[in-house]
């Protein structure tokens, strides 16, 4: 049993971290009353921007400066996802475009953007396979805690991850703290619940919406970065990221808009997502697809449960998806 857990848990965590970034970022955005369905696209853009940065830095160098090797992809990823967030905000906050349509368009755009530049880089690198391998940068990103190996199974389960994994947990805790225990968080929740009330209380609604959405986008983007450089060991191939962005949005609902729950729920989702790899040998592999449905079934189940329970705190922010016009009051 322990042997199974030692193999299973680290892989579940590896799958879960991108989801954790995506869902925490999306939760923060949704708390401002904006449903950003572009999260999948933003994670994609975050990933490819990191890849572009790393590609430009790594190509032609024998050894990498560890600081630059991490900072360049990281900054590229943050800038790329910030720009996506700004674009989304401009369309939905300033121009009051329909949030669902904008978000879906952003996802389509983000995936296209990623595949276009991914394809170009693959051409430039003259690789045999349709992928780019940035193993030196990946080695920096995937560096594990030095003492992990000496702690036996405890080390393998708890300490065998890279810094971005621990950062995800810290960010989830941090966002949770800000939302629930600070003035800023209180004001932000009010903006998402009732922008007119927040406005009357002297809160700058537009600024809160922009800030929350853009920071949310940057957090989500980090999920893409983690996926490429840690989970996929620095190998970018088009469309490999798959439907993780949607899984992240499903997680927001599953965690009833509480980032702190995202920590265990992401890992659980990650586990469900890879469960099919642990099907006992000999079973019909067609069943694999059914296993992959598990996280979505869990989300549906959660939706049903929260609807039955009908507690006001477990509902989405009241003005989620609605544009705010001050003149409407």
């Amino acid at each position: 049993m322990l042997g199974f857990l030692i193999r299973f848990i680290p892989r579940a965590v590896g799958q879960g971290i991108p989801l954790m970034y995506g869902s925490v970022g999306e939760t923060l955005t949704e708390k401002s009353g904006h449903l950003n369905l572009g999260t999948a696209g933003i994670m994609y853009v975050g990933g490819i921007c990191g890849v572009i940065g790393a590609f430009l830095y790594e190509t032609g160098r024998k050894t990498l400066n560890p600081f630059l090797g991490i900072a360049i992809p990281l900054v590229c990823c943050l800038v790329g996802s910030l720009l996506m967030g700004l674009l989304y905000c401009f369309l939905t906050v300033s121009l009051r475009a329909n949030q669902n349509v904008t978000g879906l368009a952003m996802t389509t755009f983000g995936i296209g953007f990623g595949n276009f530049f991914g394809g170009s880089l693959i051409k430039l690198s003259h690789a045999d396979l349709p992928s780019i391998a940035l193993s030196k940068t990946s080695a920096l990103f995937a560096a594990k805690l030095p003492f992990a190996g000496s702690l036996g199974w405890v080390g393998k389960i708890f300490f065998s991850y890279s810094f971005l994994a621990y950062a995800a947990i810290l960010i989830a805790l941090g966002v949770s703290y800000v939302l629930n225990h600070t003035r800023t968080g209180l004001n932000l929740r009010a903006v998402g619940e009732s922008p007119a009330t927040a406005d009357a209380a002297g809160i700058n609604v537009t600024r809160y919406k922009y800030t929350a959405t853009c920071i949310g986008a940057m957090i989500s983007g980090l999920g893409g970065l983690y996926y490429v450089f840690d989970y996929a060991s620095g190998v970018w191939s088009n469309n490999a990221f798959g439907d993780r962005g949607w899984l992240a949005i499903a997680l927001v609902i599953f965690t009833i808009w509480q980032p702190v729950h995202s920590i265990w729920a992401s890992i659980a989702f990650g586990g469900l997502y890879i469960l099919h790899m642990f099907i006992p040998a000999g079973t019909n592999l067609a069943i694999k697809e059914i296993y992959q449905m598990a996280p979505f079934l869990a989300t549906i189940l959660m939706l049903i449960l929260t609807s039955i329970n009908n507690k006001r705190e477990n509902q989405p922010p009241a003005s989620l998806g609605l544009s705010y016009f001050r003149e409407d009051r």
Partner: protein
């Protein structure tokens, strides 16, 4: 009263909305430690004036002085910083947050958020002024009066010394009103000034030190409360009747069409909206319903049309042959088929009755979409009807394929009323049919209603303008606080009597 320092002075303040002046050349002083009641009919500009003081609107002309210094109040935040706090009629609270969280919302206090400390301060304020409130209770668990308490404490927490309450008692029970008045008196003792907007004369006389009267957006006068009586206040509020010449034929052989007995209706949160209401609506007659807005008019019409759940009482419909049918418990569709037609013009005009994004013809079809063969609807008839309505009522539209929301308010109302009338009703219920219309359009609507009356329809007309009610209707039922305070013959009454009935609960006798 000895001369006191004014805390707030308005000088020649004017606010226009388009062509309409909601406030014109108003000068008003508010003194320290007084309760000033602001009295006026609907649409006399009371709320607009208070919104100017609290930073929601910005005056077009005139000056505002606070504590002797000229100030500019451009936003609610500016008003806060001048220690002015307004408690709106519609509360601005976030449902899923607690009372404390709502109160500290948007404040930039020193240090980190400490809800315990804030709650302690809130308890202190509550104790000082005699409120009772649980700071950790969520808003969605609160009754209307508790929510109002939160709003008032919110304003006090921000250190307001001038409080404006817009019809605070409209949603309260008599006991809650007494508690509120106790609190207001405590505030006065504490040197705070209070402006209270209310329609209820009894409350004005009970709580205020001074009364200021507005009429048609103008400041008329202000009086010391202990030197006036209800009659003088009514006279000043209503002013002199402006004569309107609306045709009023004598009803021909009126017969009972709708008989309402003992009707009681409660709102979702358990507030009694109508209590033991009874009246007869007769064919070929216009029954006017007067009352300050929100005293049960909407609920009454909706109850007849089958849109309101009813606590108790009966609504009977009598047809030509005198056959009776109970309407309570029937669904709106069945009531409509009996010939009861409802044309309710809500404040946002499009909220009920018309679909803004559909064109004229399609809106006509909302009444007739069930007609037609099989699964297909009949589109021809509504199109013809739309053309007729446009022609007959002079609706100003590029064509019948224009979306209704693109029409001006008056034209929207013509479309709505036109459609309801085209249904050949036997009972026509209209509410605020001329709300916001100019004189010409209003008269078109009055003519339409009169035509219906002449053809034997029982018309129930809920109106805001007393002059019009007196000219147009045959009988007038006055509602106050959800109760009938009188049914009077419109030919024999005057505005003073109606105005008095409007503000006295259950007063007067049934004059039919």
């Amino acid at each position: 009263m000895e001369k006191k320092e004014p805390v707030l002075q308005l000088k020649h303040v004017t606010k226009r909305f388009g062509e309409v002046a909601a406030n014109e050349d108003i000068s008003l002083d508010v003194y320290k430690g007084e309760i000033l009641a602001l009295l006026g009919e609907n649409g006399s500009g009371k709320t607009t004036l208070m919104n100017l003081i609290s930073g929601i609107y910005f005056p077009d002309e005139g000056e505002i002085y606070a504590n002797g210094k000229q100030v500019v109040i451009a936003s609610p935040r500016d008003a806060f910083s001048l220690d002015i706090g307004m408690i709106h009629q519609h509360f601005k609270l976030v449902d899923v947050l607690t009372a404390t969280e709502n109160i500290v919302l948007g404040l930039e206090e020193e240090g980190k958020l400490d809800l315990k400390k804030s709650a302690a301060r809130i308890e202190e304020i509550c104790e000082k002024y005699g409120f009772s409130m649980d700071p950790s209770k969520k808003i969605y668990d609160m009754s209307v009066s508790e929510k109002q308490t939160v709003e008032i404490v919110k304003v006090l927490y921000r250190g307001a010394s001038l409080l404006i309450l817009d019809e605070p008692t409209a949603v309260l029970t008599p006991q809650e009103t007494q508690t509120l008045f106790g609190v207001l008196r405590n505030m006065k003792q504490d040197g705070k000034s209070v402006i209270i907007i209310t329609h209820k004369l009894a409350e004005v006389l009970e709580i205020s030190d001074r009364v200021a009267i507005l009429r048609h957006g103008r400041y008329i006068t202000s009086m010391d409360t202990d030197k006036v009586n209800a009659q003088e206040l009514t006279d000043a509020m209503v002013g002199h009747a402006v004569s309107l010449n609306i045709e009023r034929p004598i009803p021909k052989k009126p017969r009972d069409r709708i008989v309402v007995e003992g009707l009681t209706v409660k709102s979702e949160d358990g507030v009694v909206k109508l209590q033991n209401v009874g009246f007869h609506a007769r064919s070929g007659e216009i029954l006017g319903i007067a009352g300050v807005a929100g005293n049960g008019q909407k609920e009454l019409l909706e109850a007849i049309a089958g849109l309101q759940p009813i606590e108790s009482g009966s609504i009977r419909y009598l047809d030509e042959d005198g056959k009776e049918e109970e309407l309570v418990g029937k669904d709106p569709q069945a009531i409509m088929e009996l010939g009861v037609s409802l044309a309710f013009v809500p404040e946002d005009r499009l909220g009920m009755g018309l679909v803004g994004n559909m064109d004229l013809a399609d809106n006509m079809m909302l009444r007739s979409f069930r007609n037609g063969k099989g699964i297909f609807t009949d589109r021809k008839a509504p199109r013809e009807l739309a053309e007729q309505v446009v022609e007959k009522l002079e609706v100003n539209t590029p064509g019948i394929a224009t979306m209704v929301r693109k029409l001006s308010g008056g034209n929207v109302q013509k479309v709505l009323v036109g459609r309801e009338i085209a249904n050949a009703p036997t009972v026509l219920l209209t509410a605020y049919a001329v709300r916001g219309l100019d004189i010409h359009s209003s008269y078109t609507i009055y003519d339409l209603i009169n035509q219906q009356k002449k053809s034997g329809v029982a018309v129930v007309y809920v109106g805001e303008d007393l002059d019009v009610l007196l000219e147009l209707c045959d009988r007038i039922l006055v509602l106050c606080d959800g109760q009938v305070s009188g049914i009077v013959d419109a030919r024999k009454t005057d505005k003073q009597e109606i105005g008095f009935l409007m503000t006295s609960v259950g007063g007067g006798t049934d004059a039919q």
